[in-house]
Amino acid sequence: MAYRTHLMVCTGTACVSCGSFNIKKLLEEEIKKQGLDKEVLVVGTGCQGFCAKGPIVVVQPEDIFYQLLSPEDIPYLVEEHFLKGRPVKKMMYTPPGEKIQIPTVSEIGFFSKQRLIALRNKGLIDAEKIDDYIGRDGYNALIKVLTSMTSEDIIKEIKNSGLRGRGGAGFPTGLKWEICKNSKGNPKYIICNADEGDPGAYMDRSIVESDPHAVIEGMLIGAKAIGAQEGFVYIRSEYPLAIHRLEIAIEQAREYGLLGKDILDKGFDFDLQIKQGAGAFVCGEETSLIHSIEGISPEPSQRPPFPAESGLWGQPTNINNVQTWANVPRIILRGADWFAGIGTEKSKGTKVFSLVGKINNTGLVEVPMGITLREIIYDIGGGIPGGKKFKGVQIGGPSGGVVPASLIDLPVDYEKLTEVGSMMGSGGMVVVDEDTCMVDLAKYFLDFTSDESCGKCVSCREGSSAMLEILTRITEGKGKEGDIEFLEELGQAVKDASQCGLGQTLPNPVLSTIANFRDEYEAHIKDKKCPAHVCKALINFHIDPDKCTGCTVCAKNCPADAISGNRKEPHIIDQDKCIKCGICYTVCKFDSINVE
């Protein structure tokens, strides 16, 4: 049946938590009530990327973007737009600081600067329907591979495309496949690494939620190239919706004969299993992930032998990240030259970043390699909220570093980021402004890594806790002369002596903040001041008696009963009782609370 209009309701995790399932249900009911259910179809899609504005509905084919919908909006929206044909302006997107709404997706800066390959189906298909995927050229690449390409052809194509591992390290994918194909041993396994442990990154979850078949198709092609018959998707248990959609997708692919025995009658067997993680950051490391699937203690092991030679149960194993797999079908279908034409000399194609933190348009963006940070932060991200000063962007999670504001014109690719002491990582971009304390941020990452260190190597286990201890001391105002130099020395030692990626990269957040924001460290140590007013031990809250109106809001909200004063008279904070939680600062409507 043909419908004149499709309503694409975003049902990614972020929008779901804003109530998008309810919005979808209400839309369906309202459309039925108006007798439009034969003309308008409501589709639940995966994450559309613009998470800050959820719940989101996109009207196709008009391409109209509705945002921040609430249940009360729905009857009006349906009546105005779908019955009377008048798009509702007040529910459309208005760029920060402007007054005129932008009606269509393609005109919104957040979307127009993006180049979609891995996320090409986002917002356009129902992730739980394989037919939607097939309708968008889905599984055509698999047909091409099975009918007209040999293993060597596939590997050559991927090699020529210049695709590199999207998990962060950037190892050439084609080369990885070739090593695995050529190593002796049978059976061979392939694994999709969806253990997205980086705090602040969620692109893998989004791809699995919005386009699970792209991952499955990519893995099928990889399996054909390498000669594997069994595959695993190792996914975080914190992503229930993604696991659910992937289960459905695998089931549907089996029904269609795209997984299992004798796929498409070409004598090619391949099947997939889902393995759930249990919340350990180190399991994103490939040897550790393999141990986790095997059910033994998931500590990383020494490489070589690399998994391509001796991986899962001692067999040759190929591991790639979700995003890498999702790129594969497009490369096969459109050719290596097309893909190699996007990006920079050494980094080809696109990369999905999760743009979060102190930025207006938080969400997922896919951009060509080589785009500058300025374009990402200002053109796509819409700048920093509240007119605050942009301070830097933390790229690559706990393994990455902070790129300072002075390097905003840096083109983003693997090499350039490494040069400035950061790294691509899985692609989390956390934007920080003047209210973020860099020492506190470094301490935050060390707290994370020292907690997640598996403890196998002394340098990582002891080194991370020693660095954390020093950073904690600095944020408590007990920093000593020489601490910075010692941190630098210790960081280098941990880098040199650790076995796996976790230990080798965990000093990055500290080293890069020292390199770029040394003055902040010095302010903490020498002046005992936190310039961003974050470190509790170094700040005090005071009420400005001239501005305080005695409204009592702060006193009512203070959890420690530290604020006293009569109604309509200036209040006062008892510094001995104050726990520096900052609630009074947030609730005061008269800007009368000062932080020093």
């Binding site: 998470c51 350990a280 933190g357 956390v430 726990i579």
Partner: protein, 295 residues
């Protein structure tokens, strides 16, 4: 104590720690009595292949010390013996040692091992007493199907533990012992896995699990403040459960809802873009829900 060495020392337990202490003491001039319960010194380390965290060969470290210990003039090894009464105070102890019979003349035995090889009766020296865990019927009803589902799969421990953790909201000790018996996996190995991952709990948890995200995006957007407010509101610290067993407060490293930072979840519900002042309202909502149910 100065340079004058007096008296003697009793070291109880001849594992690697006991051996090293004895050697150090003996080298500083003390007479050392090294007491050991089993027939031989060496302890657990002698049974290990490698040592943590350097992966050094265990016997390569241990055996020179065993030899040193055995022929040190200041060390007297007393094996197959137990510590009885200890009386006295620092500087003057009297100790009773109970020595078990060996049925072999220790002065003449050279340890050639010919007797053990030729003994016609082979019995385990120390039979492992296996205690089979009996579970309550209602627990068994839940655990058994889980075990059956995964029993023949490779790498099945993790999914089994995940299912049990989901059903009981934590991993009860007797059930872990049962799993260990059934799958023939040592309890220590299970404990290793359980404590490695964040998703498992060894303590009972409350009816509602409140989890505050402490991912990077949430951190810079004020997650520490939310946690402080939650702690005040619930009267517990992170990782604890309220006395009425209604709420457990936990933290997680990123739910992948960074666009909504800062985020907390209560059970399956996600609450995003929160401010500290929002917390009391949310907690009150669930508290009221509980009160209604009780009434």
């Amino acid at each position: 104590m100065g340079n004058k060495k007096v008296g003697s020392v009793l070291v109880v337990g001849a594992g690697i720690a006991g051996i090293q202490s004895s050697l150090d003491l003996a080298n500083s001039g003390f007479k050392v009595y090294l007491l050991e319960q089993t027939p031989a010194i060496g302890g657990t380390m002698a049974q290990l292949d490698k040592t943590f965290p350097t992966n050094d060969c265990a016997m390569c470290i241990l055996s020179p010390k065993l030899v040193d210990c055995g022929r040190h003039p200041n060390i007297e090894i007393i094996t197959n013996a137990e510590l009885g009464k200890v009386v006295g105070k620092a500087g003057n102890f009297k100790v009773e040692v109970k020595k078990k019979p060996r049925y072999v003349d220790e002065d003449k035995c050279t340890g050639c091992a010919a007797c053990t090889q030729n003994c016609p009766v082979s019995i385990a020296l120390y039979p492992v007493e296996k205690i089979y865990i009996k579970l309550k019927d209602e627990d068994l009803k839940i655990v058994k199907p889980i075990l059956e589902k995964y029993r023949d799969q490779k790498g099945n421990l993790l999914p089994i533990l995940q299912q049990i953790n989901k059903e009981f909201r934590y991993l009860p000790e007797d059930i872990l012992r049962y799993v260990s018996d059934e799958l023939d996996i040592h309890l220590a190995d299970i404990y290793n896995i359980v404590t490695f991952y964040n998703a498992f709990n060894l303590e009972p948890r409350g009816k509602h699990i409140i989890t505050a995200c402490i991912g990077t995006a949430c951190h810079v957007q004020g997650a520490p403040g939310l946690i402080a407010a939650l702690e005040v509101e619930l009267g517990i610290k992170v990782g604890q459960t309220t006395k009425d067993m209604n709420f457990t407060l936990e933290t997680a490293r990123c739910f992948g809802c960074c666009g909504l930072a800062p985020v907390i979840t209560v059970d399956e519900d996600v609450h995003g873009k929160l401010k500290r002042a929002d917390i009391p309202g949310i907690v009150r909502h669930y508290k009221l829900m509980e009160e209604k149910q009780d009434a």
